[in-house]
């Protein structure tokens, strides 16, 4: 039953430097928050079926750092890191996000604001990604395509089902 999807992610570009991602989950917000901030749980979903997550470090306190890396099939390692700026447990997380594949990753880091709103046991998640420049924003979206990942999609859906 676990493969039942609550909906698809909606992505919009509110301004030249922003990306807004929205998704609803059939779970209360404290569980979404837990799955989002607990390393052994993040390891189970962040890879998006594109490879193996090799690093998942989370130091969940303001000023604390995080680092995620994965080896994507046919692409090599992709890694991201950042720092927690604001933490409201179960509701809101503000972090920086630097993609290590570009020069001056930290200077070009985005600021991500995660918001969780629960209604009747369901949680709407929004992630607002704000880049310092339009080029950074465009590059960020391009990086989502880089690992050539959609090809693996159908095949991996079956794996997801088998995990349930």
């Amino acid at each position: 039953m676990a493969a039942v999807s609550s909906g698809t992610a909606k992505v919009t570009l509110p301004t030249d430097t922003q990306i807004l991602i929205t998704r609803e989950f059939d779970a209360p917000k404290h569980l979404v928050y837990k799955a989002w901030t607990t390393p052994e749980l993040v390891r189970q979903w962040w890879h998006a079926n594109r490879g193996e997550m090799t690093v998942c470090e989370i130091d969940l306190r303001v000023g604390g750092g995080w680092r995620y890396a994965m080896v994507a099939e046919g692409f090599g390692e992709v890694a991201f890191h950042g720092e927690y700026r604001e933490i409201v447990p179960n509701e809101r997380l503000v972090t920086t996000e630097a993609y290590e594949g570009i020069p001056d990753a930290d200077a070009n880091a985005a600021v991500d604001t995660l918001t969780l709103v629960e209604v009747d046991g369901r949680t709407t998640m929004t992630i607002l990604v704000e880049h310092p420049t339009k080029e950074g924003r465009d590059g960020h979206i391009a990086s989502g395509m880089e690992a050539g990942m959609q090809d693996a999609l159908d095949r991996l859906e079956q794996v997801a089902v088998s995990l349930s």
Binding site: M1, A2, A9, R23, R50, G136, G144, E146
Partner: protein, 121 residues
């Protein structure tokens, strides 16, 4: 790959053409149907030379097309030229959808576990 994309930013690509807010406004107006330049000038509140300049950029990337009708030049939207942008965002959206589908599975497990930890058994 990301950097190539950033460097490729010339006005001669659809992404750059729509990066300018005024040009997006023109596309919004044209989405409602074919319009003469005068209409666009009136709706945008810009001087005609500026509107013409934006229209030129949009024509270069094929986002708008023009035809002569008597003494008027009528502009219309050409959606297919904007499809790369749609595809580009769609792909990003798909990568997040896959990730969230995995997260759904984790959440189901957490819910079951929480229900099991409760006093229901």
């Amino acid at each position: 790959m990301m950097l190539d994309m950033a460097r490729a930013a010339t006005t001669a690509d659809a992404f750059n053409a729509v990066a300018e807010p005024r040009r997006r406004q023109i596309l919004d107006v044209l989405a409602g149907g074919e319009r003469p330049v005068n209409d666009l000038v009136a709706q945008l509140g810009l001087a005609q030379p500026q509107v013409s300049k934006h229209l030129r950029v949009l024509r270069q990337v094929g986002a708008v097309e023009v035809r002569e009708a008597g003494r008027q030049r009528l502009y219309r939207l050409n959606g297919t030229a904007l499809k790369p942008i749609y595809d580009w965002v769609s792909e990003y959206e798909r990568s997040w959808s896959e990730r969230f589908d995995q997260l759904d599975i984790v959440l189901e497990q957490l819910k079951e576990k929480e229900a099991g930890d409760g006093s229901s058994e």
